[in-house]
Every structure is written in C-alpha cells, then in structure tokens.
Symmetry: C2
Subunit: 455 residues, 2 copies
C-alpha cells in the first residue's frame, strides 16, 4: 500500500507475471466444447491438431490448470513492449468533474498498435517450437494481421495473411506494415485456394468478407505442408494469453492498495475483455472479491445484448467447428457504415458462459457516441484511441457521469486496447459530420439466427 | 549503481527533471544572434515579440541561465506521456552479434508520434499564459503540426496549421489527426494570406513548399490580433524544451552507472539532437566528461557535412530573421524522392556553433540504407521507426558493426525520435524496390549557397 499513486503505474521486470492465468480452472461450469460440424461430437485433440499447433490445442482444451507458465522466449519478447502502463485518467476525471477514479490499461504502445500482439507472439512461438514453416490467418481491420506479422517476423516464420479485399484496397498502410515485417498479404477472395477461386468465379466483383478470408486461411493451412492456422480472438487459448493484461493490471492495483469497483472493456470476439478481467473474475468465481464487469459492444453488432446462447459456426463459410456462444448467427454482417473492428457475429465461449451466469453485464453503444467519447479522450488524455477501445471509453464516461450525479467515488478500470492511427478514415467521417448509426432490426437478427445449425 | 539493468529504464515521477537545461550557459562562444534582415542588426526583444510569445522570446535570448524551471502545467502534461523509456537494444545487439551495448531513448510513445510534443506543449502553454487566442505554424511532413494541435487542443487555443499542399493531399491521415485535435489545417499556398494569394496567382498549380508555408504562417500571426507564430525546430527555445530528452536519458544512465561512449541522433533542424545531447554536452563543455557525438543527416540534405557556416534566411520566402548556421542556402530543396522530414536547408545555431568548434561530428547517409536499417530494426526491436529516426539507427548499426570488427565494447546511445505510422508510402516504395537515392552535386549546392545574403 502506498499513498502516492503515480499517473502511470509501470511494473518492474521482477514484478511481471511469469504465468498466464487460466480462468476456466475456476469456473464451476466449464465453457462448452467445440463441436465437429459433421458429427456434432466434441472436436478431438487429433482433429484440432490438423488446423492448430499442438501446444495451442493443449491450451485450448485445458480447463483445469490454473497457471500456465509463459515460456522464457515469449517473456523476452513481452519485455520489448511490456509492462504496459496502467494510467490514472486524471485529465479525463477533471474534464468530467467526476468523483470517480478512473484508470486505464493502455495496450497500444507497440507497433501493432493493440493488445493482439500478446497472443500473436505466443502463437508464433509455439508454431516455431513445433518446427513449422509458417502460419496462415485472416485479417479484417488489420490489427491482428499486423500483430501476427510482427511475431512471425521475429521468429523467422512464414506468414500468409488473407486480408479482406476491400480492406486490402482501403487500408494500404496496414498492408504495408505487414509487408515490412515480412508477411505475405493476399487480398481475399484470392486465386490461391479452392474456396477463393470458386468465389471469384461466382462473384467476380466480390470485395470479400471476414468469413471468406477465414475459410481461405484455414484451407491454406490444411493444404500446405508445415503450416497451421492461427486466430486472434474468440478461442480459449487467446483469452489465456491475453490474461497478461489483467494480471499486470491487478498487480499494479494491488501494489497501491486500489480495489476497482468496476471493470469495463470493449468486446468483439472477447480477447481483450477476457484478458483484462481474468484474475478479477478468478477472485469473483472463488468468492474472494466482487467486481462489476461490463462488456461494451457496438449497437451495430450486439452479440451479447441481442444474440442467443446457442451452438453456431465460428465462420461465415461454415467450415470451422461449432462453438456454443452468444451469437447473431454466422451470416450476420454489421452494417457497412460500421467503423473499425468488433464486427464478429459471436462471442468467446468463456465470456458467453460467464455472461449467461450473470457474472458479466453488457451494454451496447452507438458509434457516433463512441467517436464523441474518442475525440474527448484524445484531447484531454493525449492518446488517439482505436474505435474499438473507444467503446470502453464511452461507457466509462457514462458511468463516471453517473458517479457525479450520485456523488459516488467509484474506482473504474477500463481497457484501452489500442491506438487509432489506422482508423483515420473513420475519424474523418466523424469530423465531417458524415458518420451515422445503424442498429439492426429484430427481423435482421432473427433472420440470421434462424440459420444457426441444429445441435 | 545497479547490476541488474532492465530492458527499459523508466524514471519514476520523482526522478523526472523539474528544469530544462540551457546548454548555452556552458558555451564559451555563444551561438550567433538572429539578425533583422533589413538592418542586419541583432533582432531586439520588441521585434521578436511581434512574432513570438514574450516568454519564449526571453528563452530565445537567454544565453546565461543554466536551468530554467519547467512550469507545473507543462510538467503535468509531460506526465501524460513521459518519462519516455530508455531501452536497451538487446535484440538488435544479438542480431548484429556486436559487443557494443546499445541504448535508445524512444520518443514515439505519444499520439503525435514524435519528440515534437515536448516543445509544442511548452509553446502552447506560454501562448495561453500570455492570454493569446491562438497560434499559427507550418507543417511539412506533419509531425510538428500534429504535436502542436495536441498541445493547443489541450489548452483550448486556436491553431492554424499551414500544411504544404502536396502533403495536405498525400497525407490525409496526418491532416485528420490535427483536425481531431481541433486545429484548422489550411493547404498552402492558400487564399488566406497576401503571400498565398500572390503565389496562387503567379503559380496556379503550385503544390507548395515549406518556405511558402512558413511565410504564410508568419503573416497570419502578425496580421491576426491575438496570434503568434510558433516553430518546431531550429530555435534556441526549442532546443531548450527538448533538453528534457537528454536529461531523462542522463538520469536513467546515471542511475545504473552507465557512461555512454557515443551519442547518435538524426539532425534536420536540430531539435532532437540538440535536446538529446544537451546535458552530455554540458559536461563536455565544462570539461567533466567526454562523449563522441554524431549528428546524422540525409545525404540528400547535408547541411552540416556539405553546407557553409554563414548567415542565411531561416525561410525560403526570406521574410524571417537571418540566422548564422550551417546552411545549404535557403533556396535549397531536397530532391523529390527524399522521404520524411530532415529536409531543412540549415541547422540550429547552437548545433552549428558546437559543430564548428569540433564538439560534434556529422555523417550523412543515403535513404535506401536508412530504410534497410529501419526494416531490420522494426523486425528485431518491434518498433516501426520514423524515417527521420532511422538515420540514427543506420549510423548506430554501422558503429556497432565497427565495434564487432575491432572487438570494442562501446556503449552507444541513440535517439529514436518517433514512429513511422504515417510514413508507410515511403516504406511501400522501399518494400517494392522502388526507392532510390539522390545526392546533390557540388554545383547544386554552390548555386543555392551563392544566394545567401551578404552580412
């Protein structure tokens, strides 16, 4: 306990966590297993190993080991850009004139610009350790592809990134960072896979979709000797790696005797929120402490707040395993005016299970309100936030204003997952007053939900 | 002294410098004064105050006060993004297999993406304190304009940025960050000033130049009530503010008992190098310690290595005061294929004087070699460097390889001034093998040098 709390709390290297924390070990009801879409039976280790690296399959299936050691090679890489700072948002508090105490864990201080690197480097390490030649993946907004290309560049692995064609064309800078790190970036649908060729034949002007890019990446992994497929969110293994965020946060808070009342994070597939809350949720599950946890999702892609908790395909192409999750249906596509990431139709099975048990709350926010918050935050706190992260900022501001109304001195921690340098087209739209909101109708959602498989 | 040196040395808030260090106080020969271009007499306080804020004029003219207190409001803002880390480049050392110990001071961890913010916030603060409505400036590559817009946004000042028209069009993202922070960004030549209107009339298709943008910004400051002009490099006041970089570096090194043999920085107008070396140069000037200091400039704009030490105009438009500096002539323009900043025709009068006395060395490097170094650094150290900063990386690598050849265990510190997120067009050119080098001929330089004023 220490009276003097600095603006930014950095852990020393000695204080850095040496293990990831596996929240599943403390869950009484474990997240539902992935199912083989053909047999509807749980995916076996062997089946998963055709697609994923062996060690990552172990992590995916391990519901019991509470702490999993972070290999030294990964800790060395973490040392490059971690610990990330836990920042007291004094300037934001002052601007809002709120009695709330606001902290944010800032994950944008690395070239990939987001928290995605925490899992990318782990996945690349295990691929290297297995003696693989390379990995394949898809990317939409580009954060994950950038992080993965940094990680594979570091370990000298090949990296094939299938990038949704319209992003490939509209985000040449993202593409170029990946190329600078040595990745091969392929606009999807491509002519490199059967699925890509088929789509190009059927829809010659297709600008691609995340679902199609996933299908291509999986095909490329399975059909190329020495390759495996890697994914940047949703999976248990990814949440495990991202627990580094929450553990650092908890150690930093404990060091100064701070107990948060509320933890807020944006949620797309769930990698950031799952990581940020992990050790806090552990205490909550073990009955040691209580925290209010809020998942913030876009009103245009509201899987938790308006989806259903059922088995669904993880990809639009319906070639991946089935996962039990809050979903809008695998064919759900957020409106074209939706900016940034957080556009996945489902939610990590771990978070879905926790939400279903009432251990997490969820809210949805509209994007013009999100960019309003982003711009305010950028001005007073000096960091240009990613649109994804700005969802958490929006809700944090709303909660801080409630504290002001009720004169409550709550301590709020939120996850600032990344920076918005590559999202300036969206900022421009907002600055020019050309950004709008779109909320899917109940009919929209019912239509795609009706297409979920029967399990 | 401490045996265990972490990867990244962060100072605690208590350890942060509370003063800027004014190297002029320790210079026996002071830098030459600015001259009024009409009278060739030293610019008076009154003359300077028509263009610059009063307190900044005081700092500009103060050759004697060794330490100038950093006002609390500025230190509060520094706390948002400072201390910046001093990083041991273990991964680069390993890649090069050099016995040299390499450290870099990383100034890119803020939304403006560079060290420019250190002076921008100071200048905005003094403008605010003087009760001004706003400030004007020019920007080329955009780093300075971005930093200034963050600073003025924070203090609620107006900010007019005259942005070289071709940059305005080719770097819409830079422009958009500035607008997000509330700046008015005006493509130059504009229709808002006499000079702009005149150029637009004479050269209707002009895409602008830094010189023209400076002239417009100065005119806008002088003709608008409540405005002053601010500048991001070259001036004594800017080097003073940037001394925070060197002071933090020195405190961090001293803490672990590390004495650098060599300090390397890129040099355009000199703001970064002047700041990085300040306290080390102080020791050198006072005879307390010796350091080898290397300024790295682009081969396409080699003011120190191939320019002359004479009085010259600070701007192409010849409306600003004369400064005695190493210059290529105010009409010198680096070749169109030159990427990034470091394109100023002259060099800070402080650095010019130190260089003339042999206290600093200088080298020039070609840009394809610079991007080669940048790409290597990005891969092994995980940070995508700005082209400007990569000049220092290039020379650091060259020096580290010399150490390897000679089996010398030198300690090298270099300045990593910023990130390259907004320079991906240049990276793309390099990745595609389309980048070339251009070195001006002696005739080129003689031609523009011949146009320097007679003093």
């Amino acid at each position: 306990m220490n009276d003097k709390i600095p603006y930014k709390i950095y852990l020393s290297e000695d204080e850095m966590p040496k293990n990831w924390y596996n929240v599943r070990a403390d869950m009484k009801e474990k997240p539902a297993p992935l199912l083989n879409p053909a047999t509807k039976e749980p995916m076996t280790r062997e089946e998963l190993s055709q697609v994923f690296c062996e060690e990552l399959v172990n992590q995916e299936l391990d519901n019991d080991t509470r702490y999993i050691e972070i290999p030294k090679e990964i800790r060395d890489f973490y040392n490059m850009y971690r610990p990330s700072p836990l920042v007291r948002a004094y300037f934001l508090e002052k601007e809002l004139q709120t009695p709330a105490k606001i902290y944010y864990k800032f994950e944008g201080n690395n070239t990939s610009g987001s928290h995605k690197l925490n899992s990318a480097i782990a996945q690349a390490y295990y691929a290297k350790k297995q003696g693989l030649k390379g990995v394949t993946t898809e990317t939409g907004a580009g954060q994950w592809g950038t992080a993965l290309s940094m990680a594979t560049g570091y370990f000298g692995l090949d990296c094939k990134v299938f990038m949704v064609k319209c992003s490939y064309e509209q985000k040449p800078f993202r593409r170029e960072v990946m190329r600078t790190y040595g990745a091969e970036v392929i606009p999807s649908p491509s002519m490199e896979t059967n699925i890509g060729r088929q789509i190009n034949k059927e829809l010659p002007n297709s600008t691609g979709s995340l679902g199609c890019a996933i299908s291509e990446a999986v095909e490329a992994a399975v059909t190329n000797e020495g390759y495996r497929y890697v994914l940047g969110s949703v999976l248990n293994q990814v949440l495990l790696h991202q627990s580094i965020i929450g553990q650092e946060t908890k150690i930093a808070l404990d060091k100064y005797g701070i107990k948060p009342d509320m933890i807020i994070g944006c949620a797309g597939g769930g990698s950031n929120l799952g990581g940020l809350i992990a050790p806090f949720m552990g205490e909550k599950l073990r009955g040691e402490n209580d925290y209010e946890i809020i998942a913030v999702e876009p009103a245009s892609c509201p899987s938790l707040t308006r989806g259903k908790y059922v088995y669904d395909f993880c990809d639009t192409g319906c070639i991946c395993p089935l996962a039990k999750m809050y979903t809008l249906g695998s064919k759900f596509m957020p409106s074209a005016n939706h900016a940034g990431g957080l556009r996945y139709h489902g939610m990590s099975t771990i978070l879905s299970e926790l939400y279903d048990k009432g251990l997490i709350k969820a809210v949805s926010v509209e994007q013009t309100k999100v960019f309003e918050a982003a711009k305010l935050f950028a001005r007073v706190e000096g960091i240009l936030p990613a649109p994804e992260s700005s969802h958490a900022i929006r809700t944090t501001i709303d909660e801080a204003l409630k504290c002001k109304e009720n004169n409550e001195e709550k301590t709020i921690v939120f996850g600032l997952t990344g920076t918005g340098y590559f999202d300036l087209v969206a900022y421009q739209k907002f600055n020019d007053g050309e950004m709008s909101d779109y909320i899917p109708t109940d009919e929209d959602i019912q239509k795609t939900l009706a297409m979920c498989p029967k399990v």
